[in-house]
């Protein structure tokens, strides 16, 4: 009979009679507020999705709670999540739970697509995709104090993971009609680790002759991004540089309140706001709900519920670009609820 103890899921989605169940991890800060808006919008659009709400935040943060959250994602295959506060001096745990989650579920890709909305204030008009390695590099979480006063952090780059990421990035470029892939690295200093990453990308690029391939050092990339971002199309990066690049791009294109990020592995997919801020400092009804709503649209597209995704996407575009209802982070005066109410109104109007 075989003895594979942990069942391997042949069918990752909990999909019965046309209705999906997905895990909902609201986490900390404005997360619970934002996910509640998603639920309101889904209800208005009659999206056939049920949320399994998972209690995980800085109060529910024991190993047991964390294991249950992981189990929930493993059962449903799909999750929508806010961000868990990674406290520097957490009494519970020495590693960031967000990072551990990515490693445990082997979510090796983080994809951040930033396309500015016409009519929304931004420093530049952009259409950039940042594809970031999500499980290794500086986030390998191996740190130790060799002798008192000397601490080492080990940055791990493997050929296998880099290849998987590169393959994903080039396939993405081909399938989405992109023209150019830029590898971001610091191989002039970290000749072996980043060198391996860059070499892998370079050799992969030979399989995709229709896609132009460049590489660029991370410090120069940041300067180029703020001065001439139009030159970038798809960017593929190791873990930490990806994080920085994503935040720079997001800042140029209107801030953390707008864009969403996707995490993919071989089995699971997790959707979240692009720049993973908890927004703990924000008062209720002030934060911008668009990022989390965009994450929910990504999720709908992943589940091939395209018609629902389109309805909600159109309603958001109308709210931002035509009705011009903007929250404070975009220079407007509207509250979170004003934005959500207007989106719901647009959904009702369209159907």
């Amino acid at each position: 009979m075989g003895t594979e103890a942990s069942p391997k899921w042949e069918f990752p989605y909990a999909l019965y009679g046309g209705r999906h169940t997905v895990s909902l991890l609201s986490m900390d800060g404005i997360g619970p507020e934002m996910t509640s808006y998603v639920q309101e919008v889904f209800e208005a659009a009659k999206v056939p999705i049920e949320f399994e709400e998972v209690a995980l935040n800085k109060n529910f943060n024991s190993d047991v709670d964390f294991e249950r959250a992981l189990l929930s994602i493993r059962r449903n295959g799909i999750a929508l999540k806010g961000s868990l506060e990674s406290e520097y001096a957490s009494p519970f745990y020495s590693k960031s739970r967000n990072a551990v989650m990515r490693v445990e579920l082997d979510l090796f890709v983080n994809l951040f697509h930033c396309k500015t909305y016409p009519g929304v204030p931004a420093k530049h008009d952009l259409d950039i995709v940042v594809i970031r390695q999500n499980t290794e590099g500086e986030y390998a979480m191996i740190e130790h104090e060799t002798v008192p006063g000397v601490v080492e952090c080990i940055k791990v780059i493997t050929k296998e993971a880099s290849e998987k990421l590169g393959r994903f990035a080039f396939e993405f470029a081909v399938n989405n009609n992109r023209k150019k892939v830029t590898c971001v690295h610091k191989a002039n200093i970290q000749k072996q680790t980043d060198g391996l990453f860059m070499d892998t990308m370079k050799s992969l690029s030979k399989d995709y002759p229709s896609i132009a391939y460049h590489d660029m050092i991370v410090d120069n990339t940041c300067m180029q991004l703020v001065s001439n971002p139009g030159q970038f199309d798809v960017m593929v990066t190791p873990n930490l540089y990806g994080l920085c690049v994503q935040n720079v791009v997001s800042g140029l294109a209107g801030g953390p309140g707008l864009y969403s990020g996707k995490n993919f592995g071989d089995k699971y997919a997790v959707f979240e706001p692009g720049t993973r801020n908890t927004g703990t400092q924000l008062r209720p009804n002030v934060g911008n709900p668009i990022a989390m709503l965009n994450a929910s649209i990504d999720m709908l597209r992943h589940l091939r519920l395209h018609s629902y995704a389109q309805v909600i996407d159109d309603a958001i575009r109308r709210t931002l670009c035509v009705d011009k209802i903007h929250t404070q982070d975009l220079g407007g005066t509207a509250s979170s609820m004003d934005v959500v109410q207007n989106i719901i109104l647009n959904i009702r109007r369209s159907s």
Binding site: Y16, G18, R68, S307, S351
Partner: protein
Amino acid sequence: MAAIGRPLAGALGRLTTQCIVQRSLHNASAAPFSTHGLPASKPEQRLTATLIPGDGVGPELCHVVMDVFKAAGIPVDFEQLYISEIDPHRSEPLETVVESIKRNGICLKGILASPEYNADGEAKTLNMKLRDELDLYANVVHVKSLPGLKCNHVRHKNVDMIVIREQTEGEYSALEHESVKGVVECLKITTREKCNRIAKFAFDYALKHGRKKVTAVHKANIMKLGDGLFLKSCADVAAMYPDIEFNNMIIDNCAMQLVSNPHQFDVMVLPNLYGNIVDNLAAGLVGGAGVVAGSSYSSHCVVFEQGARHTFAEGMGKNVANPTAMLLCSANMLKHAGLDQYSAIIKGAVDKVIKAGKVKTRDIGGYSKTSEFERAIIENLHSG
């Protein structure tokens, strides 16, 4: 009649948006980008469901549902397709029915009779073909005592359990042969993939509906490999659901426990044949085939039909059948389609009529006709 329509006007206005969206879902299952296949002239806000009238009293019961829907102003159009194994010449082709259910995503179905002898010598019954074509692998029967139902053969109160049955493999493989004269073999097929699938369905169902316990029913002490595989799959899957208690029970003991102490059961998950028997046994506990609703799930569609599958052919045309089960099926269908308010209206009316106990069909100890029951339901639609 006029008074019935009015209180709903507000609700209708609110509901105009949802049906079109719901419909496009079911297209998404077959071809994610297309909206063709929808009749273009339909008003957008209406929902379409396939209707299979079935054999025996099925057509009469479906008519009750249609009359009640009309009286309640429920925005559902039925795409009625006749199919039967007893009367194959009048039947629509199976492909037409399958296509319709795939397109609509939901179907209300009367019971199809499976005669012992098939005209063209095929081993698979029509029910089995339909299940296989649509991959309706999970059958769910919610066995729940109807509050206020009093009749002699209902001995237990407050029974509330869910029987989940795998219905695409096991003893229903239709693989039988006579190896030598006088020796017949039937193959019972058990696969890990399908066992995992039904077990996960059961646990997900339990989680979603706030249930506490799942019981796997089997005969692994005798069929160590086949039922053993089923039991192991259930145990493997249970490990993923730490909040739900898991136990197992041998089918013979389970049958005894069901009639002596049915309250110990919450969600039960069973292979095909045991499921079939337990469905009927459990339905008998709360009033019989006329009052228990069931449904069959695939990934993309749901067929709503009575929980215990009896055509009641001897009652055909006599106006005596009990429409309760079929009405509850229709309420479940509305709920699944997101028309919760309408679902509640139907369910409320059924509960009220049963609780009042004045209009009872013969199977639950009364003398009322089907048509009288229907009238009572319609009168109670908006009296809440």
